[in-house]
Point group: D2
């Protein structure tokens, strides 16, 4: 599953939409550069920060039932939206520092997940692939 | 920072590049549907799974120094690449279930981060905005 | 591995029971010393490892409903028991490296929790103290 | 908050010291009962909460170097002490709900760790046992 090449716009053509992952990666590079934050952004520290944000994303749900978690009050949803954003930003930043193309990595993982979880075996089951 | 609208291709024009986040979101919908996994994919459970993957991403780094974390052996990098992918996939899935546009949320958070961390105050400092 | 009682029993006296937290702290010191692991056991690395183990503890629960989580199959409970142990071991080790008396810290926190969550206000509510 | 000794002292006998884990377990039972919190304390929710606290414990360290993490300013150490306490409290509570004796589980895990990491092979190495 590969994206078509970006083409040079000519008159009458609309330019190809910028890929959000790339756009955010570049914005984060500028953000860190302006603030001299690169020395702090070692992969280990970024992996720590991402883990912390993932837990901040989990916190609003911790005492909810599964059903309640699907009908969040607007205030909670607003907060969760910010935490989703925080996780994505650190994920993009960490992938960038490690020279990993996030979208390609995700596509490759989806393909190997399809092999690990063939429909016939995995349908309706939450079992890990090692137990299918 | 909003993306231009996708335009309907006409002859001679190239179609706009599919956004990776949207493409992966749709692939994940199909993946879960084929396997009857939607009942398991409550927001709370997805938030748990994302947190678990974030920790699996941290684990290869836990005993490394900051410097070592920037020069991972190929085998470790291969593993980390898969964990980056796992985090992205759960993040996209969770945002989808909550009807949150991940890219928009990330752009909005970057803007508010710029206000919380003005360059003049934040330059060269790892302090949290509450302590600037 | 049970610790010997701390005092030599004499007739008429019962020996004081060794405190498990202290016993495990000492066992972990010996374990790390024998293996030359102290250089790896910086507080940051131990905090990472603890976070990773906490997620390994969460993983068996991630697709379960709240009700299912209270009736784990024996195999799962066996696994969860090991993860509970891993979290405790890293917690004791990290507290030791930071010279923190874990039991005292926990008692103090319980007291401040009682002030943050007075029975009259907190009864039957999962709200955070900032929202009571 | 110190627990009263478990036996009534009679002349010539010293009372056995209460084990901190047991004392805190009982204090947590009372705390939750007084506030009608037991319905919220399903194992899944407690495992979520523990994971969240483990991340709050990691956060003060995320931008520090390994060396800095060993010399925390007093204010930071005070905060970290509270997070260590939070992790212990949720760990004790979760083990209680699952009928797991935490100290016994930790001792058993230390023993199996000694087998997985024999001194001769593990000395000076941070490798996981699967790679020794």
């Amino acid at each position: 599953m590969t994206a078509p090449p970006s083409t040079t716009p000519t008159s009458g053509e609309s330019s190809s939409a910028p890929d959000a992952l790339r756009e955010l990666r570049d914005a984060l590079r500028r953000f860190a550069l302006e603030r001299d934050w690169d020395p702090f952004h070692t992969p280990k520290s970024l992996a720590c920060a991402l883990s912390v944000e993932a837990a901040e994303l989990l916190e609003p749900f911790q005492w909810l039932s599964e059903a309640q978690s699907a009908t969040l009050p607007p205030e909670t949803l607003r907060h969760v939206r910010q935490e989703l954003a925080d996780v994505l930003l650190y994920l993009i930043r960490l992938a960038d520092k490690l020279n990993v193309d996030l979208a390609d990595a995700a596509r490759a993982k989806l393909e190997s997940n399809a092999l690990r979880y063939p429909v016939a075996k995995a349908r309706g089951s939450s079992r890990k692939y090692t137990e299918l």
